[in-house]
Symmetry: C2
Subunit: 363 residues, 2 copies
Amino acid sequence: MKNYLRATFEATANIAVVKYWGKRDEKLILPTNSNLSFTMDDKLKTRTTVVFSEDFKEDELYLNGQKIDLNDQSASERMIQLDLVRKSAGFNHKARVASINCFPTAAGFASSASGMAALACSSATAANLKLSNKELSILARRGSGSACRSVLGGFVQWHRGKNEDGSDSYASEIFPASHWKELVNVIAVVDSEKKKTSSRSGMKQTILTSKLFEKRLQTINETIEDTIRAVEKRDFESFAKLIIKESNNMHAVMLDTYPPIMYLNDNSRKVIDKIIELNENKGKMIAGYTFDAGPNAHVYTIENNLEVVKETLKEIPGVKELIVCRIGNGPKQLTNESEHLLTVEGKVKDMFFDEKTKSIISR
Amino acid sequence: MKNYLRATFEATANIAVVKYWGKRDEKLILPTNSNLSFTMDDKLKTRTTVVFSEDFKEDELYLNGQKIDLNDQSASERMIQLDLVRKSAGFNHKARVASINCFPTAAGFASSASGMAALACSSATAANLKLSNKELSILARRGSGSACRSVLGGFVQWHRGKNEDGSDSYASEIFPASHWKELVNVIAVVDSEKKKTSSRSGMKQTILTSKLFEKRLQTINETIEDTIRAVEKRDFESFAKLIIKESNNMHAVMLDTYPPIMYLNDNSRKVIDKIIELNENKGKMIAGYTFDAGPNAHVYTIENNLEVVKETLKEIPGVKELIVCRIGNGPKQLTNESEHLLTVEGKVKDMFFDEKTKSIISR
């Protein structure tokens, strides 16, 4: 084998429309319920280069140009994928990983889904593992739950699975990105104070303390079926109402948690009220919102209504930026030398994400 | 009988610790679940004088000195008690009603509970009906659901009841005010925009659309039993945790409603976070919050911890006033001529609530 094994991938964020909230297994990251998402286009992406080499003394991670201390537990836990890949590949080479998040800084998004998906793809490919989508999804899941959805494009289902070892808990594509080309996701980035409950500890508390959570789980499979049907038929009105209700439902069980988990702030509530009002005024559902573990709104609409939705959101005080995403095709391998974030010998290149040109360039 | 029948009562607000949210009968105002409250002292009260006379041509209502148009449906619905009293009394005299709410104007509280309780007491007494507490509570309930709790003092349970005619849906005293003298309710009045979903239409929507509401109803009787037990033992730590969870639970099903109902704003959330933090810092529960259909926090604590709770609340930006209530004894009849809001012939006196002296005086 070659002395240095290298691969580079870009993976994108995904925005759930039926949410993942609650683990049935903390260590293996197995969800309490199946869930659904659309993978976004490259407006929100992470590029990651992995190099394995027997010459390296230890694993090293460079995130947005900064070396990360892997003695930090939360950082090292996310690097578990490297161990899994090494085990499958049958070698024990240390790795050098460089990763750049191409997210507007204002957004303050969690980049774990795109980041861990890009790491799964690039580490498995560098190690010459020929993984199926299912195996790749399971690998990404070990880094971060929702990352298992970002290894696929289009409309994706993460199957809860039943097995204790997690071997049937993976994401698969339900419909490709081309199925519903008119669908658009407008992210309304809102002003907020930075304080945030970690979703990891929050999920745990919900399972331990929420009385309503059990009911959510009892009804969520029907929501999943209904949502798949709406997407299948490209029935935007049904889709919008379903995702609004589902988002409210998740934030309701968060509030029912002790201590309560509250991600929605006054600006989020203004977006909610405005979207409800917009739909009422139009006499039909032309926009549907969903909120993850944060105050920013993800407003799904269709191309024909994009302008009116953008105008409506722009008028809301507290909305500071709009990011328009379309549905993406999933991870992409990059093979040009200029695109790798590490040289072939694993040396970190001085590259960064330039917000003006929205591309990764050398300094 | 005399030509003019007059009576004057003061009734006070009550603050629920297990909430009333949802009607099983809209017209008779029958709740989907039993609920619990403490009746407050006279910091938050309504004084009402009723005069019946065969000389009057029509019912008239004067609220805080202003004549109210009884052709307005929501105003006339609340006057249904007059018809019920006339029917029981076997006469058909028209009534003149004068009512003054003695609430700090900043608070913006709903005064329907104290108002409708005062109307029940004064109209029944003016008509010489000798009603039991149960009958009085049912009468008040017809004016406004939670008013049925304000005809009693201390710790009160509004029994859901089973009968379709509402004859077993009334409030009764579980413990008198003297049972837990140390209990204090600190109302943190917060800045808010005035916009508000009416609780009447909100409740209806919750029943129609919330998937989680059924689970709330399945678990609420246990919450009621646990809360009664905590109050019985004056076990503040259990009490505080129970009421926090119960308030969160109600606001969760509100959020799970379509369209979502959101009464808590960023200032409410700051109070929630601060109370959770205060309890954590003290290593025990010294304060418990509950929110009604609005953003103001009702923070229960005990006398020994009142100062630290007040200091904590005062430091929160967005909290603009604190009102400290203790547990009250229920409605009080006033018989001095100077206290009636109407002359013996039903003429409106020029009286008003003076915020400085906190008393009702003549202009």
